[in-house]
C-alpha cells in the first residue's frame, strides 16, 4: 500500500476473507477436532464446550442487536424452553435426547414465529422490555405448571449418556454452522438490507427492504440457534429449574460477550465469548464479585471502547474479518464473492 501524505486516515480497509481465510478457519476447526480426539482433559473440553455455546448465543444476539437493530433482553426464553424440551422428551416421554434436541429446535422456531407476530409492532426500548416481560411471564407460568413439575425443576435422563467428547464435538459443529449461517446471511441481499434497516428503518423500507420479513428471518434464526445451544447446555448440565432456565443472566452473558467483543462485527462474539468464559472461570475464585467485575468491565468498555475489542482493533488497524464489505477499499480490483 502506498503511504502518501494523507496517512492512516485514508488507509484502505483490508477485508480478510476469501480462500486464504477459509483455509485458516478450516485449519483451526481441524485442530480443535484433532485436539478433542487426542484426549484433552475433560475439564479443558468443558471449557471449550462452554466457549462454543457462548459464541453461538453471542453471535445470535449480535445478529439481532448489532446487525439488525433489535435489542432483545429475552433470549433466555429460548434457552429455557430448549432445556425443558430436552427434559420433557427424555424424562417424561422416555425418548432419546436427539428427539429432545429436535423438539427444542421446533419449539424455538414455532415460538419465535409466534412472538414475532406481536413483538415486531414495537421498536427500540419497547421491544427490549417486551421480550423480557415475555420471558418472565413464561418463567412464572412454568413455576406453577405441574407438567414441568413447577418450581422443583426437572432432570434430563440421557441414555446412553453422552461423553464430554461427544458434547464437545456437537458444540463445535453447532458453532461452525452458526458462524457460516451468520456470514452467509450477512453476505446476501437480505443481510445488506438488515444493516440498512438498523441504520435507518424508514429509509431502508422506502428503498424496498422488506422490514418485517427480514426481521422475522433474523429473529427465527437467532431463536433456533440459541435454542440448540441451550439444548446442548442442558443435556450436559442435567437439571433445570425455571429460575435457572429463564435466567436473565443468559442474556447478560450475551450482551457482555457482544459489547466486549465488538458489536456489529462477525469476529467480535468469538473474542467476547473467550474473554467471558475465561474471566468467569477466573472470577469464580472470588464468589460474589464476579458479576460486579463483569458489569464494571462492560460499562468501562461502553464508555471508553464503544466498538469493543475487535471493533477497535479493526478500526485502528484498518482491517475487517469476514465483513459485509465485498471488496477491499478503495479499489475493487478483484472483487471476489466468496459467498
Amino acid at each position: 500500500m502506498d503511504n502518501n501524505s494523507l496517512a492512516s486516515a485514508r488507509k484502505p480497509v483490508r477485508v480478510l476473507d476469501g480462500p486464504l481465510m477459509l483455509i485458516i478457519c478450516a485449519v483451526v476447526v481441524a485442530i480443535l477436532i484433532i485436539l478433542g480426539f487426542l484426549g484433552l482433559p475433560n475439564n479443558t473440553l468443558r471449557y471449550f464446550f462452554k466457549i462454543f455455546l457462548y459464541i453461538v448465543m453471542g453471535s445470535m444476539w449480535n445478529l439481532m442487536s448489532g446487525f439488525t437493530g433489535m435489542t432483545s433482553l429475552g433470549q433466555q426464553v429460548f434457552v429455557g424452553l430448549a432445556g425443558y424440551s430436552v427434559c420433557v422428551m427424555t424424562t417424561t416421554c422416555g425418548m432419546s435426547f436427539w428427539m429432545g434436541i429436535l423438539c427444542a429446535a421446533v419449539i424455538g422456531v414455532v415460538f419465535s414465529l409466534l412472538l414475532s407476530t406481536f413483538l415486531f409492532r414495537m421498536r427500540g426500548m419497547y421491544f427490549a422490555i417486551a421480550t423480557w416481560v415475555v420471558a418472565e411471564a413464561i418463567c412464572t407460568w412454568f413455576k406453577s405448571w405441574e407438567f414441568v413439575q413447577m418450581g422443583s425443576g426437572m432432570k434430563t435422563v440421557t441414555r446412553p449418556k453422552p461423553t464430554t467428547l461427544d458434547v464437545y464435538i456437537w458444540a463445535l459443529t453447532l458453532f461452525v454452522i452458526a458462524m457460516v449461517v451468520v456470514y452467509v446471511l450477512l453476505r446476501t441481499k437480505t443481510g445488506l438490507g438488515l444493516t440498512a434497516m438498523r441504520d435507518d428503518t424508514d429509509a431502508a423500507s422506502s428503498l424496498g427492504v422488506n422490514i418485517v420479513m427480514s426481521k422475522r428471518l433474523v429473529y427465527i434464526i437467532a431463536a433456533l440457534f440459541t435454542a440448540l445451544a441451550g439444548a446442548l447446555y442442558w443435556i450436559n448440565s442435567g437439571t433445570i429449574y425455571p429460575d435457572s432456565g429463564f435466567d436473565i443472566n443468559w442474556t447478560v452473558a450475551m450482551v457482555f460477550i457482544v459489547i466486549v467483543g465488538g458489536i456489529g462485527t462477525v469476529a467480535g462474539p468469538i473474542v467476547g465469548a473467550i474473554i467471558y468464559v475465561v474471566l468467569s472461570e477466573v472470577l469464580a475464585k472470588f464468589p460474589g464479585w464476579s458479576n460486579i467485575i463483569l458489569g464494571a468491565i462492560a460499562i468501562l468498555v461502553i464508555v471508553f471502547l464503544p466498538d469493543g475489542v475487535m471493533g477497535t482493533l479493526q478500526k485502528k488497524l484498518r482491517f475487517d474479518i469476514f465483513s459485509q464489505k465485498r471488496f477491499s477499499e478503495p479499489k475493487a480490483k478483484n472483487s471476489k464473492k466468496a459467498a
Binding site: 442487536s65 435489542t71 433482553l73 406481536f118 409492532r121 414495537m122 427500540g124 426500548m125 419497547y126 427490549a128 422490555i129 417486551a130 423480557w132 416481560v133 415475555v134 418472565e136 411471564a137 412464572t140 407460568w141 406453577s144 436473565i248 447478560v252 450482551v255 459489547i259 460474589g288 464479585w289 464476579s290 458479576n291 460486579i292 463483569l294 458489569g295 464494571a296 462492560a298 460499562i299 461502553i302 464508555v303 464503544p306
Partner: protein, 280 residues
C-alpha cells in the same frame, strides 16, 4: 363483599405500584432512557430505610428524611458522571450501561447485606380496622398516603416551579429548551435525582409491606415498567391508574397467578396500545 374487599386491596396495593413506576416514567419521558437499574435503586432504598431504622431505632418512615437526599445525590451523580456521557452515543449504549449498573448493584447488595430476607416493621404494622365484613390494614392506608403525597408533590413541583417547568420543557423539545437557556445535562441530572428520590420512597413502602432480598429488583423493575407501559410514559395520572390496574391484577390472581396476569396485561398493552392509556 368479597369483591369489595378485593377492589380495596387492589387500590391500596396500586399506590405502591404507582410510586414504583413514577420514577421510571419520569426518566422514560424526560431523559428518554430506559433505566434498567430502577428496580435495584428501589431495593437500595429499601435497605437504606431498614438499616437506618434498626440502627437508630427510629420509625422507618422517618428515615426518608435521610434517604431521599442521599438517593437524590446518587442519582444526580450517576446521571452527570456516567449516563450523560454514554447517552451521546445513542440510546442503546445507555440502556446497556443501566443494565450493567443493575448487575453491579445487585451483587454489591448481596455482598454487603447477604441474601437473607429483610423487612422493616413499625408500631402500626399489625393494626387492622374492621368496617363490617371489610378489613383494612392501617399499614396499607399509610403506604397509600405516602405514595399519594409523593406523587402529588412531584406533580406540583413539575407544574408550579421554574425548575419543574424547565424539566417539562426539556422533555417536550430538548433543542428548543436548550436554546431558551435550559442546561439539558443539568436537567437530566436533576430528573434522575428525583427518580432516585421516588425510588427511596418506593423502597420504604416495599420494606414495610413485604420481605425483600438483594435479588428482588428485577421483579419490581418489570412492575415499574408495566406502570409506564399501561399509564403512558411521562403521564402522572396514568401512573396512578396503571398502579391500580396492576394492583387489582395482583390481588385477583393471588400468589400463584397474580404475577402472570400482570405480565399478560403488560404484553397486551404493549401490543394494542403501546403509547399507554394517558398519553398526549
Amino acid at each position: 363483599m368479597q369483591i369489595v374487599q378485593l377492589i380495596i386491596n387492589g387500590i391500596l396495593l396500586g399506590g405502591i405500584y404507582a410510586v414504583l413506576g413514577v420514577g421510571m416514567t419520569m426518566i422514560f419521558g424526560i431523559v428518554k432512557l430506559t433505566n434498567l437499574a430502577h428496580g435495584e435503586f428501589v431495593i437500595l432504598g429499601a435497605y437504606a430505610s431498614t438499616l437506618i431504622s434498626t440502627t437508630l431505632g427510629v420509625d422507618p418512615i422517618l428515615t426518608l428524611i435521610v434517604t431521599i437526599p442521599i438517593m437524590f445525590l446518587i442519582g444526580m451523580g450517576l446521571q452527570s458522571g456516567l449516563i450523560n456521557r454514554v447517552m451521546l452515543k445513542g440510546s442503546e449504549p445507555a440502556l446497556l450501561v443501566t443494565f450493567g449498573l443493575s448487575i453491579i448493584l445487585q451483587d454489591l447488595m448481596l455482598l454487603l447485606f447477604t441474601a437473607d430476607a429483610r423487612h422493616a416493621g413499625g408500631a402500626y404494622s399489625s393494626i387492622v380496622f374492621n368496617i363490617g365484613p371489610i378489613s383494612i390494614a392501617l399499614l396499607d392506608v399509610i403506604l397509600l398516603a405516602i405514595s399519594l403525597v409523593t406523587i402529588i408533590i412531584l406533580s406540583l413541583f413539575l407544574k408550579k416551579t421554574y425548575l419543574g417547568r424547565s424539566i417539562r420543557a426539556t422533555s417536550d423539545d430538548t433543542q428548543a429548551a436548550s436554546l431558551m437557556g435550559v442546561s439539558v445535562k443539568k436537567t437530566y441530572g436533576i430528573a434522575m435525582g428525583i427518580a432516585m428520590a421516588t425510588a427511596a420512597v418506593a423502597g420504604l413502602c416495599i420494606a414495610l409491606k413485604w420481605t425483600f432480598y438483594p435479588s428482588s429488583g428485577g421483579g419490581y423493575l418489570l412492575t415499574a415498567f408495566g406502570v409506564v407501559v399501561i399509564g403512558g410514559m411521562g403521564s402522572i395520572p396514568g401512573t396512578m391508574v396503571a398502579g391500580v390496574i396492576l394492583g387489582l391484577a395482583q390481588v385477583i390472581g393471588g400468589a400463584n397467578w397474580g404475577q402472570l396476569i400482570s405480565y399478560l396485561i403488560m404484553v397486551l398493552f404493549l401490543v394494542v396500545r403501546p403509547q399507554g392509556l394517558f398519553n398526549k
